[in-house]
Symmetry: C2
Subunit: 396 residues, 2 copies
Amino acid sequence: MLSKQYKEMLSQKSVIRDMFYFATERIKTHGAENVFDYSIGNPSVPVPEAYNKKIEELLENPDFTSIHGYSPNLGILSVREKIAAYLKKTYDVPYEAEHIFMTSGAASAICHAIRCVVEAGEEVVVFAPYFPEYRPYIELAGGIMRVVEPDTKAFQIHFDKLEEVLNEKTAAVIVNSPSNPSGVVFSDATLKKLAAFLMEKQKQYGHEIFIISDEPYREIVFDGKTVPYVSKYYDNTLSCYSFSKSLSVPGDRIGYLAANPSCAGAELIASMCGQISRGLGHNCPTAFIQQAIGDLIGTTADLSVYETNMNLLYDAFTSLGCECIRPDGTFYLFPKAPEPDARAFCDKAKYANLIFVPGDSFGCAGYFRVAFCKDTKTVERSIPVLRNFMRETYGI
Amino acid sequence: MLSKQYKEMLSQKSVIRDMFYFATERIKTHGAENVFDYSIGNPSVPVPEAYNKKIEELLENPDFTSIHGYSPNLGILSVREKIAAYLKKTYDVPYEAEHIFMTSGAASAICHAIRCVVEAGEEVVVFAPYFPEYRPYIELAGGIMRVVEPDTKAFQIHFDKLEEVLNEKTAAVIVNSPSNPSGVVFSDATLKKLAAFLMEKQKQYGHEIFIISDEPYREIVFDGKTVPYVSKYYDNTLSCYSFSKSLSVPGDRIGYLAANPSCAGAELIASMCGQISRGLGHNCPTAFIQQAIGDLIGTTADLSVYETNMNLLYDAFTSLGCECIRPDGTFYLFPKAPEPDARAFCDKAKYANLIFVPGDSFGCAGYFRVAFCKDTKTVERSIPVLRNFMRETYGI
């Protein structure tokens, strides 16, 4: 018979997808140039030429089994070595190849990480506002998701609320910095405090509590800032990375999990991920894409457009009186809606051709997400439409 | 803490991988030309030029988001349409795009299929000799694997043994024709009998029993034979396909699941797989690879070398008096060992530079698998070595 659990999930629609679908339909009647779809986080800057060129070179290699043959089950060793060397050099954490497991993007890395350190019935803590897909990642692995209420002043961590939520059943905490949807980077002070808190709790409960660090936006930062590297603060950290945003290749499905060399079972994590894969039917990302990124680690697409867009939209929303944390990075803005119900706000905005996602599904009611991975001209054209909508609807 | 289950799995080595590792090490001391590694099923024929060319064309498309952007979560619609049309035309089963879910190879398709129709604690029946990875696919999804003892005469189905194993907790039966490791194709008579048997049992137990049909070798058949299409015989069939073998691209991770349009919940299966993916961190195979195979469905690499190799090795083993079913397809041969313990036989053979895998891990003790995806010259050179080994060790 059909699985009850997955059958029931069919009725639980994703709000992001719903808004994206609305935008797609509305484009048909109102024209692409008139609909401003800020719903979905699909990177919008060109893929580096070197990446496509590298793939083409690989495909021309007459030794076809070295290109199209099976990848080893933890990933191609030379690529894992290059990633370890890059991370070591960049973040001063002494990774070796044995700590790296190749994955199909950050989603796959997180799903492996959860199975690695969370037993069925154990809890995983997330900080609101959080990426909504954490819930299926955790729950479909048998874990229980616990939400720490947001710190809506600085969008750092609300430690009093964390204290209430964390308990002896906590196996892991997901950190996402820079954050989808707030765009905020967790500060040095926040990470120090979090690390100290978790180390204390580990001692108290007598077991490890892992940080699963979701880092696909690591390279998209503004105002010349840097992103404190979570694993540097706390040994029991599994870093989950994707090249989707930095190279603008989300459809290519390529990323990795990096286990801190000082974490519990550091030498086992990648091999355990290999075993986990056997049950997920994940047999590594595409082998030739692994090889291509092996030569491009540290390279990024030209990501400057995101900062330009952020400045335009941040100025527009704040000049309209919207409370809004200034993003440190990502391609998201997370303003407070001009009425208490952000869903009502988004429903009105969409008929003015402005497609946003209400914060409710990110665990942060009253706010909404603006995914500004668009070309700057589109962003510029959307601003008068936004001003007009806010004036007509809210008298702002 | 580290997951107990996956930590314990680390000590359970794969015999296939062990033999492959032995071969790799032995090559270092004895030279690649002297070691005959028949351990692993890595396709050995060139990838069709059209496939690489198609990818290169796609990469040159300036509309980079259409190439490197996210795939829809069930796969790219136009590709699903083409697959449905191909299957409809080829096998006369009226698939539509809604029945097709794109996967990272057959492993991913099977893992999705199991979660779709097997609840935790329910049973999945496999026929020995079976592909060893079925066990983690089933058990790590919470199912229980039940093995039907082999029919070592014809390597079809031992129906008396099936009758003993199947019960009201059976949710699915895995069929693999052509079979890894026996190379045998399930005949029209076998599939008719299996379908009638399962239909009877469905009625008796009052619930569906699905066939999960694992079909990566569908196009590799010998002696001009055809492979009866399992889904044509039994409505409740989920067909799991991979392009790994037909296009010689196992590292590229591309395949699909096709739900029979008359199966229970046919219109839900692909969407349910989309939900299952959210828990596995599987966000579709690489988008541009989906697009590339969209134009190549039905095309195969030149697979004729496998038949040439099969004939050479089949003749060699049978002329040495080894009992051996003649493979209908695949690139495997499954002879009976010349001593009762096939592990002992393989351990002796490997020191004669002949690397085989004992049948024990396929649920069929006393037999061994020969993966002959090699160039024919290598196969030819291995035959005198085999003859010599059999004479010296067994006086044959």
